[in-house]
């Protein structure tokens, strides 16, 4: 196993733990998205490019979008008057 793969796998573990421990829902979604991206790189290194394409499109793209839309619908992301984003828990 190369060093690069080791770094990616370590990042995967860090992402998984960070996503479950993060208190901010928006941050959790972004971490989850980066998890999917790293996973798609790992799929390429495991020589399965078709899975990598699917992971990048579904995991990083569509799922994240659906999560974000849901957060907006339940008003978990609201904007202050100053334009700064504030989060609810």
């Amino acid at each position: 196993m190369t060093i690069f793969t080791c770094i990616l796998l370590g990042f995967l573990v860090v992402c998984a733990i960070a996503a479950s421990l993060s208190k901010n829902l928006l941050n959790t979604i972004l971490i989850f998205m980066s998890y999917s991206l790293i996973m798609s790189v790992i799929w390429i290194m495991l020589e399965s490019p078709d899975l990598a394409i699917t992971e990048a499109a579904v995991g990083a793209g569509v799922t994240t979008l659906l999560f974000l839309v849901t957060l907006k619908k339940i008003h978990a992301i609201i904007k202050k008057d100053g334009g700064e984003e504030e989060k609810h828990e």
């Binding site: 394409i53 499109a57 793209g61 659906l66 907006k72």
Partner: protein
Amino acid sequence: MSKKVSDEQYQKTFSFKFRQWLDGTKDPFLDNVEMKKQESFHEDEETIHQREEDKKHLTEKVYDLEHNAEVRIFRKIYRVFCVLFCTFLVLMLLVGVSYLPTFGSADNPANNEVAARYIEKGLQETGAVNIVTGMILDYRAFDTLGESHVLFIATCTVLILLRLDRKEDKIAYEADDRSHEPKNDVILQTVARILVPPIFIFGCYIILAGHLGPGGGFSGGAVIGAGLILYLNAFGFAKTEKFFTAKTYRRMCFGALACYSIAKSYSFYTGANHIESIIPLGTPGAILSSGLILLLNICVGIVVAGTMYTFYCMFRKGGY
């Protein structure tokens, strides 16, 4: 437009009824099933009071741990049994794991003649250069058919949960959807204008070259669906509804699933080994080769792309 049959006669034909059923313009249960009007639920003040009083009384009685010996004993036994059950489960699973063959060993049951046959004869029998596609769309096409239907059923479920039927609800939801949305964002629109055509072309390429290289219906469909969502985000519902509405989705999905089922069912009826096909396999490596696989890939791609987009629309404004 000249008409050979009158309107009344036309409305009795099968094709008209089929179209009505497909568009959902007529409720098949209306006038055919006897329906009772639901009465609104009424309860007078005293009953409510009585009910709440009873509930309070019961809760107090049950959770009064100092005077209720039964609950106390039950809780203790419950905890003991929890620990025992968990220990038993963990032990059972650990023992089960210890019987599993060594990971990666050559004489595992997974390394049998099936995989060898796929690798040796896959190209010859299915005509697909990509062995994975040959496997999932020829040897195991039945699985993929089921997967497409699972996607379709998932959309139906989301539709049942999120669809808004009343017009007032829809308008309110849409206003809420638009309230904190940057309208006509120049950066997003410029990027979308540049990116969306390559994304669509790439998705089509993945679908069409599924039997030649990595890719296939599912991944290509997901890419096209993501491109559609990007286009929708940049330009809004007014532009996408010009070419993609609920009706389009229904027809596309129905057509693709029916096409898949019909194309594959002949081989299911002729037995498990459906290698002898009337469709020529063609030269391996050419785009028009490997029999039905290209058609099935396109069908799966259409279903997946439509489903992705529909999911997003349902989440955004509950129907489109």
